[in-house]
């Protein structure tokens, strides 16, 4: 039997270069033309473009910029922070973009600073990427004069260090742990100044919209989710790695573009470790569109699609991820730093077949009780992942809980759950 012919919308490469060579300023200008000077008019253009943030929360960019630009006169001028720390273990999009097209991000930072009237700018990246920091410093020395100086700051490699209040705390000389809001960064952030925090991919899209306009941006994607997005495809696929998707294509299209599954897929983790498991049959035709994903309780999150082969154990896989997220709690809020380790411990004994019949009910109750009770959304992400696992892998979890763990739970992990270096400075 021959495979059905698939007509795949091929996403245009807007952000991803075809060459693996880092683009210097000359190559960047040859490719895109010089950076235009747009000022605050860019905010209205971004509003027309429908661009939403690519850091995980899909928040409308123009709305955030307006809030920062609307700071009361007499107050200190705003600060722009480009969040490129990317601590999601499976994700490579931000570091790849920064390594290959640093000037697109620098352009976005300048455009943001000019649009909101910022006099200080920071590019916040993981301290683990020493060579990346050196390359960014080199790119920065090529920038034309007259721009707002961009401080390149290294962040500790902890999962929550990229959360926006953690970023602000770190830049204010404290540890990179989140704090309670309000005040939100746009109200009182770095140095108590109004602070715009945007993901680096978001700022790269801004750099293109400033040159080519909102109508161009909307030429691909859907009406509600225009444009393209960077997505890391990982797990059981033949060619894992970074892809640029056009909104409107399906999860199946995206997995096929990454070489297709190595063996029959059982489930897909959509959105990364803050994401949700979806049964493979339901996931394949799912359209990558914010509205369509929200309708099934999912989101593209920070752009990770993990493919789990049917032969792998979703319970063990989730157990390892929850263990990772529990270790990565910032240790400040009880429901997160006491609750998540308890969840992790019980789920681990489920994996081993030692937890008992009632354990799944307890896990479900804990998941709903912990949700929404931390200063940041770290515990929300973890409990959403757990809930989706209890539903998608319900049969397997039941067998584990009744004392019959599967053999697959002892095999090598499909998704990475590294031990991150300790410390918050």
């Amino acid at each position: 039997m021959s495979a059905p012919v698939r007509i795949r919308p091929v996403a245009p490469s807007r952000l991803l270069p075809t060459s693996p060579q880092p683009e210097d300023l000359a190559a960047h200008v040859a490719e895109f033309g010089p950076r235009p000077i747009v000022g605050s008019a860019l905010i209205a253009e971004l509003d027309r473009s429908g661009l939403v943030g690519r850091g995980g929360a899909s928040f409308p960019v123009a709305r955030k910029w307006l809030a920062v630009a609307g700071f009361p006169s007499g107050m200190a001028k705003p600060v722009v922070v480009a969040d490129g720390v990317e601590t999601e273990p499976a994700s490579v999009k931000d570091r790849t973009l920064l390594a290959l097209r640093p000037h697109l991000v620098f352009d976005g930072i300048q455009l943001a600073a000019e649009a909101v009237g910022a006099t200080r700018a920071v590019l916040y990246v993981s301290r683990g990427g020493e060579s990346l920091m050196a390359a960014l410093a080199k790119a920065q020395r090529e920038r034309p004069g007259g721009e707002v100086y961009v401080e390149i700051t290294g962040a500790p490699t902890r999962y929550v260090a990229g959360e926006e209040t953690a970023v602000v705390n770190r830049l204010n000389g404290r540890t990179a742990r989140p704090s309670v809001v309000p005040p939100r960064p746009f109200e009182a952030g770095v140095g108590r100044r109004p602070t715009l925090v945007n993901n680096v991919e978001t700022l790269a899209h801004v750099a293109l919209i400033a040159r080519r306009g909102a109508a161009w941006f909307r030429q691909v994607g859907t009406a509600g989710s225009p444009g393209t997005a960077l997505v890391t495809v990982c797990g059981g696929v033949h060619a894992p790695g970074l892809r640029e998707i056009a909104f409107g294509q399906t999860v199946g299209d995206t997995v096929e573009a990454a070489g297709g599954p190595t063996s029959e897929a059982g489930a897909v983790l959509l959105g990364g470790y803050f994401g949700t498991w979806i049964d493979a049959r339901g996931a394949w035709p799912l359209v990558l569109d914010h509205e369509a994903l929200r309708a099934v309780g999912a989101s593209l999150g920070a752009g990770v699609i993990g493919v789990l082969p049917r032969s792998a154990c979703g319970v063990a896989e989730t157990d390892r991820i929850i263990g990772f997220l529990a270790r990565e709690s910032a240790g400040q809020c009880g429901p997160c730093h006491v609750g998540l380790p308890a969840v992790s411990e019980l789920l681990h004994s489920v994996t081993l077949g030692r937890a008992g019949q009632r354990s799944l009910e307890t896990l479900a109750r804990w998941a709903s009780e912990i949700y929404g009770r931390g200063a940041c959304r770290h515990p929300d992400g973890a409990t959403m992942l757990l809930r989706s696992a209890l539903s998608v892998f319900a049969d397997d979890a039941g067998r584990h809980a009744r004392g019959h763990p599967c053999g697959a739970s002892r095999r090598a992990p499909i998704l990475p759950t590294p031990a991150l270096p300790a410390g918050w400075r």
């Binding site: 928040f59 809001v181 009770r373």
Partner: protein
């Protein structure tokens, strides 16, 4: 002239600052109508506005929290969350 009933002065909700709270559980003892504890002793707060007859208990719980972690929030004030995964 507005025909709307005057907004009750006690149209407030309770919020806990999860970083300040250290599970002393005083609040749940003083205001069990709206505060219960999770399996680890941290308060789970009913988010509905507090009716006037319960306000004295609410005020007492707020005043007696040893960490000053419990406070009133206007009904319109957003929750503790900034941005998130969903």
């Amino acid at each position: 002239m507005s025909l709307q009933p005057p907004r009750p002065p006690a149209g407030q909700r309770l919020r806990v600052d999860p970083i300040l709270c250290k599970a002393h559980a005083v609040c749940a003892e003083l205001f069990p109508e709206r505060i219960r504890l999770d399996d680890w002793g941290y308060p789970i707060i009913d988010d509905r506005p507090i009716p006037p007859d319960l306000m004295p208990h609410a005020r007492r719980a707020v005043a007696d929290c040893p960490r000053a972690a419990l406070r009133f929030a206007e009904s319109t004030e957003p929750g503790v969350h900034s941005r998130g995964p969903d």
